[in-house]
Amino acid sequence: MSASDDLKDLYQEVVLEHSKRPRNYRVVEGATAEAAGHNPLCGDQLVVTLKVEGGVIKDVAFQGQGCAISKASASLMTGAVKDRTRAEAEDLFERVHKLVTEGPESVDVDALGKLAVLSGVSEFPARVKCASLAWHTLRAALEGHGEAVSTE
């Protein structure tokens, strides 16, 4: 049945694994920026903390609550943007967003590495927000506070 294939694509092994044991689930010590993300529709909430040095994301972590998709996406994101410049992180977000909205044919999936497991989301329009929450929050952190710490 195509219905269950879609589900298998959405809840891939890697996605489930990341949602159960999210990576970088913590607060970055000596963070230079942070932002809170909130999806009022489902109550998902997370906080992304960052350490940016010389324009490069040296460390990034998240904490919060949410569904399997939003947690896995946040976890995968922290792995993917570490040691990248802001511009690179922004570019990655754009490609991930394309992947989860338009599907795997719309982007160079191989170049996305592990993030490619989020491709199943494109069959579930109602879940795109879950997959992009962490990324929007990351962008807010990068744009909002630059290198200044917001919590003094």
Binding site: M1, S2, A3, S4, D6, L7, L10, Y11, L16, L41, C42, G43, D44, Q45, Q65, G66, C67, A68, I69, F124, A126, R127, C130
Partner: protein, 407 residues
């Protein structure tokens, strides 16, 4: 249960007979909005094909017919909730508007700085936010009756919360998030003993059991057409006549006035004073058709069906490993809110959807009660008169599937 055959009832609801995602549709989200019987759909079409015109203002035959249909609907609503007088029935957009109307008219007139508005922890946002706004406008204080771990109101706390400063008690009849049936008659008695008027949010009640506003004794009763198998965009504010008559108008415009000069406006009688502008005619016509449909089935029969199915579903869900019911009041209506192991409700909802099963996941516009149960969201299956044991069985099978996906 004489005269009530769910398989017969299902035939009246055309939308139920379709496949979604390759499976027969199982609709378990009637607490969000209910499906419409053919009789309601036909009434809307008939109105536009034969009787449509503006009301209360034309001398021509169509305007007469439309006015008759609209005022006839008011009388149908009166009968349905056993109000004394059709003038006590105000047509509004829905429960939300009904409560806002009371807060902004009755509230603005009678509630001031330091006064208290008493609500409960389990209200829908529609019965919280209008009062919060009123408090911000007037300096009044919002007080809250707590709920216990079953999801019942802590009745022992009520008397102390009804103080000399309490100006209104606004309480739900049935909680949309938990299914709890609140003893509003008893609460009304206690509030009235202290001279406090009572507004009841009946959005989740009128679809499940007979409601008699005179028996309840409340001052205001609010509900929505779309949750009781009628159209969206129409709802009812019942208000005791002496209350309504003492209230200033809500919105200004046509129909709510008797005469207008640039210097002075004389407001119309109730209920028209609260119905500014061209009303939702088709909505009223459709709501009346929904009520006639319910009356033909018999609300007692509907109540018996819902009760029996709720008992069946409660038992069936208890057999699902790791399922925890949120809201286990002794008296409940047809709502099953639950957590499934450590799977987030959103993920439950997605997997169920692929099985053709529609449920609601989220905070159900009742965040304060979610906070009480320390969950950000639940999965909620809600039952209506067209649901069957087979629907419940399909839900249980699909929940096992969720557990498989998440091991």
């Amino acid at each position: 249960m004489s005269g009530f055959d769910v398989n017969q009832v299902r035939k009246d609801f055309p939308i139920l007979h379709q496949e979604v995602r390759g499976r027969p549709l199982v609709y378990l989200d009637s607490a969000a909005t209910a499906q419409k019987p053919q009789a309601v759909i036909d009434a809307l079409v008939r109105f536009y094909q034969h009787d449509n015109a503006n009301v209360h203002r034309g001398v021509h035959v169509l305007s007469e017919r439309a006015t008759e249909a609209y005022e006839g609907a008011r009388e149908t609503v009166r009968r349905f909730i056993n109000a004394r007088d059709a003038k006590e029935v105000v047509f509004v957009r829905g429960t939300t508007e009904a409560i806002n109307l009371v807060a902004q008219t009755y509230g603005r007139k009678h509630i001031g700085a330091g006064d208290e508005v008493l609500i409960t922890q389990m209200e829908h946002h529609a019965n919280i936010v209008p009062w919060r706004m009123l408090c911000e406008q007037t300096g009044a204080v919002l007080k809250v009756i707590p709920v216990d771990d079953r999801g019942e109101l802590v009745l022992d706390a009520v008397d102390a919360l009804l103080t000399e400063r309490t100006r209104i008690l606004a309480v739900t009849h049935v909680s949309n998030a938990l299914g709890t049936v609140v003893p509003v008659k008893e609460l009304t008695r206690r509030a009235h003993a202290k001279g406090v008027p009572v507004l009841v949010d009946g959005a989740q009640a009128v679809t499940h059991f007979p409601v008699d506003v005179q028996d309840l004794g409340c001052d205001f009763y609010a509900f929505s057409g779309h949750k009781m198998f009628g159209p969206t965009g129409i709802g009812v504010l019942y208000g005791r006549k002496e209350r309504l008559e003492a209230m200033p108008p809500y919105q200004g415009g046509g129909d709510m006035i008797l005469s207008v000069t640039m210097e002075k406006v004389t407001y119309n009688r109730v209920p028209y004073r609260f119905e500014a502008g061209t009303p939702n005619l088709e909505g009223a016509v459709g709501l009346a058709a929904a009520i006639r449909y319910l009356e033909a089935l018999g609300m007692e029969n509907v109540a018996a069906h819902d009760r029996e199915l709720l008992a069946y579903a409660t038992k069936a869900l208890a057999s699902v490993p790791g399922l925890r019911m949120v809201g286990t009041a002794r008296e409940k209506s047809a709502v099953l809110s639950f957590m499934l192991a450590d799977v987030h409700p959103h993920d439950v909802g997605t997997i169920l959807d692929r099985e053709g099963i529609c449920i609601r996941t989220g905070h159900h516009c009742a965040q304060p009660v979610m906070q009480h149960f320390k969950v950000p969201a639940t999965s909620r299956a809600s039952l209506a008169l067209y649901n069957t044991r087979e629907d419940v069985d399909a839900l249980v099978r699909a929940l096992h599937k969720v557990l498989e996906v998440f091991q």
